[in-house]
């Protein structure tokens, strides 16, 4: 299958490993990946910070860039959530019903990585090998906006060598919330503290999730405390195949 990658601005700029892994994984599974270079950002930060008008061109750009593609994948539950649940509304409220209809059509073909693997490609065992103790944080937008459910866990359970440990209070927000993390830095930090405590309680050496944004937040905290626990995007684990040294 020919699959278009929406890398997301954050992964493109700061966490290319997640986007690279998405490409490598899908190619390994025998699919063709394309990267339309006109893509930038889904506009979620603008929409969620109260700048809906400024987000209209970004919605239009996303629609134009991807409307000729049959299937789009993004390594982010949050961005796909915005595309699926906000883009059409933003266009409609800007008085662009035509764009709204197009946005809805593209959104219906845009998938978060675990959705693409299980629902479209119908594959649960991607043949990965990752010999680490891993805990999974189900990010809020994957969980409650996209409702990906246990898809990421099903994928992780098939990974050879991986010791999956359950994260206590997993469904609680890590405190990122986009600009919330700077506008309400103290509250965000208090939420992060509890999330980190739960991660450390698992004894995992890797905390994974389907969003680089939440991982940046959790990872930033874990790094500040010099815990030695790494944050790794789900795509990187699924793309990993190296044999142990």
């Amino acid at each position: 299958m020919r699959i278009a990658l929406f890398a997301t601005c954050l992964a493109d700029t700061m966490f290319p490993a997640a986007a690279k892994a998405t490409v490598q994984l899908l190619e390994r599974l025998g699919h063709e990946v394309v990267f339309p270079e006109a893509q930038t950002c889904c506009g979620q930060m603008h929409i969620n910070t109260g700048y809906q008008k400024e987000a209209v061109p970004l919605v239009r750009r996303y629609v134009r860039t991807f409307e000729s593609c049959d299937v789009v994948v993004a390594p982010s539950g949050s961005c796909v959530g915005s595309i699926r649940h906000q883009h059409a509304t933003v266009a409609r409220q800007a008085g662009e019903p035509g764009l709204a209809a197009r946005a809805e059509a593209v959104a219906s073909r845009t998938y978060e990585l675990s959705e693409l693997l299980l629902d479209v490609l119908k594959i649960e065992d991607v043949g990965a090998y990752y010999p680490h103790r891993v805990t999974y944080h189900p990010t809020c937008h994957s969980l409650r906006v996209l409702r990906v459910g246990d898809r990421p866990l099903r994928l992780l359970r098939q990974v050879r060598g991986l010791d999956l440990v359950e994260l206590p209070a997993a469904e609680q927000c890590c405190g990122f919330g986009g600009t919330f993390s700077v506008k309400n830095a103290d509250t965000s930090t208090a939420m992060l503290a509890d999330k980190m405590r739960h991660v450390l309680d698992t004894g995992a050496d890797v905390c994974t999730a389907g969003d680089v944004s939440c991982l940046m937040h959790i990872g930033g905290g874990l790094s500040r405390l010099r815990t030695g626990v790494r944050t790794v995007h789900l795509a990187e684990i699924l793309a990993s195949t190296e044999a142990p040294a």
């Binding site: 990267f35 893509q39 409650r144 309400n184 830095a185 965000s188 930090t189």
Partner: protein, 469 residues
């Protein structure tokens, strides 16, 4: 013309923005422990009894549909309610705002010649600051809900819709009782039954010697003119039955079309709020019954900004709220900051969307941002209010800081121009390197760097890698 809740009266506006107020609360470890313990307990209890109902989701949809119908037909339903209450011997008053409602209630109490009223726990009367208005008129209001009494005796503010003293633990409550409760046993322990016993003794005397009661209402049935109050303690029942005069202050959104609609709400409310299958006391009354209960009944219908909320297509859902407080109990922000940080009597997620709409968003402009948009509130809400979408909608109406506006405009400009965007990507990498992983960044980014490292900038962007492969 619909107007917002007036300034200078009532409790819908805080003294400081949410982040500043939250900082104070976050620095209090006792408060955080009390809150975490209480919200975790209620969450567990509520989750268990909700899981018992196979049709919970259908009930939620029914509740949501009933509320949407009510809002679409509000004027007609309110007139019907007035007609039925009047026919049953009650008197209906219309209050455009807090000031008017306070004046109506104060005048009604004055006319009875009484100097003291007993109160049923009520959000509407807290919202309008009725206790202060009564005190100014020389009338003593006595809160009879145990938690509300603790707050009143402690000269404190409620911090939760349902459990106003959730921020207090039992040793703090004991101290408040010893200090403030008339006739309290000086050997009072902090054993919960003893604390409840002390409150009971004090309140019993008050119930038997007070002739006017003030209440709110959970529901007002348009079809029959019946008012309903649900509670756990029975103290509300005392207030609603013993006095000669009962004055009920009800927000106009609390009307429900028909008697049968209570079937839906009386299943939703207790399970979502206290985690009970049925609340212990459901009191209903229709006007006046000769020889039984209060012989004078007044219903004050309160607007106080609600009509303005109704005018907003997205925001009006906030009026569907049945004040169960499930959204507070699941909110990760509320759990850490508590209710006072929200500045209004309506805390938590519902407060973050209701208070700014009642006052006008300029007056509570930090509240729509007091959420990480995690969505837990939407899932928990028994009438399916899409709180995250209202938050985002209100952020869009809130006044924005000038520097942020410029930054957002610049970001949007760059992101709509891939070449500029690519240059910005590179600049961002250099800035991060110079900022030494985030320390020494300018505000507001220093807020991030206080507790979190910024990621190590990658050697190349994804797009560089893609082109080079």
């Amino acid at each position: 013309m619909s107007t917002h809740a007036p300034k200078g009266v009532g409790h819908l506006r805080g003294d400081e923005p949410f982040p500043a107020a939250a900082k104070v609360a976050l620095a209090n470890p006792q408060l955080r422990r009390n809150l975490q313990h209480a919200t975790t307990t209620i969450r567990g209890k509520s989750g268990r009894v909700i899981a018992e109902l196979p049709d919970w989701q259908e009930l939620r949809s029914a509740g949501s549909a009933l509320k949407a119908y009510t809002m679409a037909n509000l004027p007609r339903l309110l007139e019907q309610l007035e007609e039925k209450v009047t026919a049953a011997g009650g008197v209906v008053h219309w209050a455009a705002d807090a000031t008017e409602a306070n004046r109506i209630v104060t005048d009604l109490v004055r006319r009875t010649g009484e100097q003291r009223v007993i109160k049923v726990k009520s959000m509407a009367t807290q919202e309008i600051g009725l206790n202060e208005a009564l005190e100014e008129a020389g009338i003593t209001p006595v809160e009879t809900d145990l938690a509300e009494l603790i707050v009143q005796l402690g000269h404190d503010k409620p911090s939760h819709i349902l459990v106003p003293a959730i921020h207090r633990n039992r040793s703090e409550i004991r101290e408040i009782f010893l200090r403030e409760m008339p006739g309290v046993d000086p050997d009072l322990t902090d054993n919960p039954p003893d604390l409840a016993g002390a409150a009971r003794r004090y309140l019993r005397e008050t119930f038997l010697s007070t002739r006017v009661a003030v209440s709110g209402a959970n529901f007002g049935v348009a079809e029959t003119g019946t008012l309903a109050v649900v509670e756990s303690e029975g103290n509300g029942r005392m207030c609603l039955t013993l006095p000669d005069t009962l004055i009920t202050v009800m927000g106009i959104e609390k009307v429900v079309p028909a008697w049968a609609d209570l079937e839906v709400f009386l299943q939703l409310l207790p399970r979502a709020s206290t985690g009970e299958r049925m609340n212990p006391y459901t009191s209903m009354w229709t006007g006046v019954t000769p020889g039984d209960g209060p012989q004078n009944f007044h219903l004050v219908l309160l607007d106080n900004g609600r009509t303005a909320v109704l005018a907003d297509e997205v925001g009006r859902q906030a009026l569907h709220c049945i004040r169960c407080s499930a959204c507070l109990n699941v909110c990760p922000v509320y759990e850490r900051t508590g209710g006072h940080a929200y500045g209004s009597v309506y805390p938590g997620p519902i407060g973050a969307v209701l208070s700014p709409q009642l006052t006008g968003v300029e007056d509570n402009s930090s509240l729509p941002y007091a959420s990480s948009l995690c969505g837990a509130c939407f899932d928990a809400c028994p009438v399916k209010i899409d709180i995250p979408s209202i938050l985002v909608h209100l952020r869009n109406q809130a006044p924005h800081p000038r520097s942020e506006k410029a930054a957002m405009a610049a970001a949007a400009y760059a992101m709509d121009r891939p070449r500029v965007y690519e240059r910005a990507q590179k600049a961002a990498r250099i800035a991060k390197l110079l900022g030494k992983r985030g320390r020494g960044l300018p505000p507001p980014l220093n807020g991030w760097a206080a507790s979190r490292d910024l990621p190590e900038p990658p050697a190349e962007t994804f797009r560089d890698w893609w082109r080079g492969r």
